[in-house]
Amino acid sequence: MGLEFYTSRLGDAINWARKYSLFQYPFVTACCGMEFMAVWAPKYDVARFGAEFPRFSPRQADLLIIVGTITERQGPVLRRIYEQMCEPKWTVAFGVCASTGGFYQNYSTMPGADQCIPIDVYIPGCPPRPEQVLDGLIMLQDKIQEKRGFVQRRERREHDELLKAKGKLKVIP
């Protein structure tokens, strides 16, 4: 009992550290990229949230930002990039095209990047205002702190199943 209490508090501390050191990997495919550059420039100061540092390899990143339209042909590429990232990892869909396909409804456009990878936060807008992006980032930080990110939920489920298998699950989390 004491041990479980201790680990959960440690988890909170770790998540606090995680949410203020998001190394992001921008997957920029379209015009939203210009807005992305504007948001990540000094004027809006994303360094306040500890997320200003882009990594140019998905292997070093925690946060995959999908900026712009995803076509069906890009789907396998995006999926592979997502799979290359180390866990824990989070994803943000930046703009309507990445969220739902936006105004595209045709043979080539994927209706939302969530068709091929799990998305944690959707930021609508064509393009989104910088304030929306910062709001989305804060929502993601809340999700990380409360362990509601996709990978964290899966980890918790796997952990519960492991404990269940060992007959050790007493408290419902």
Partner: protein, 166 residues
């Protein structure tokens, strides 16, 4: 401006020309698909019009009309600066097989990728093309999406999230 080129084209192409029209400086010659290659060669090699540059090659699907397709060549002469558009009428065969047109790669190397694009999106086969593969869509794609009878909302996904990812 290019009316001179159009008149000269009518003169040298003779009976090959199906129709012509001019609108706001856009001058068009319509020919049958079977005669297109010969007409293009004539326009390129004629010393007066000298249409030595293929600036664009595309196609139009007039669904419900006969002949159904038009392959459109946008030509330009570096000698005179004139522009000329050549439309080749390409019918869909009665048996529903692939419509065909002669490839212009032997005249202009730049036709290579543009003909691949027309093949990819409209399904017009260019006879004599050195490497007629899809250029924009993926190899697994079935059909030709810019044809008017391709369903607007039909989608052919390459990957999907595994079902256990909720």
């Amino acid at each position: 401006m290019s009316v001179e080129a159009l008149n000269r084209a009518k003169e040298i192409l003779g009976a090959t020309v199906v129709s012509t029209h001019s609108y706001r400086g856009d001058d068009t010659v319509v020919v049958e698909g079977v005669n297109a290659l010969q007409a293009l060669r004539t326009l390129r090699d004629d010393p007066e019009v000298a249409m030595n540059f293929l600036s664009d090659l595309t196609a139009v699907d007039y669904f419900g009309r006969e002949p159904r397709f038009e392959v459109v060549y946008h030509l330009r002469s570096f000698k005179t600066g004139a522009r000329l558009r050549v439309k080749a009428l390409v019918a869909e065969p009665e048996d529903g097989s692939t419509p065909t047109c002669a490839s212009a790669v032997e005249l202009w190397a730049s036709a290579n990728w543009m003909e691949r694009e027309v093949w990819d999106l409209y399904g017009i086969k260019f006879i004599g093309h050195p490497d007629l593969r899809r250029i924009l869509m993926y190899e697994e794609f079935v059909g030709h999406p810019l044809r008017k009878d391709y369903p607007k909302e039909k989608r052919q996904p390459l990957v999907r999230r595994p079902p256990d990812e909720v």
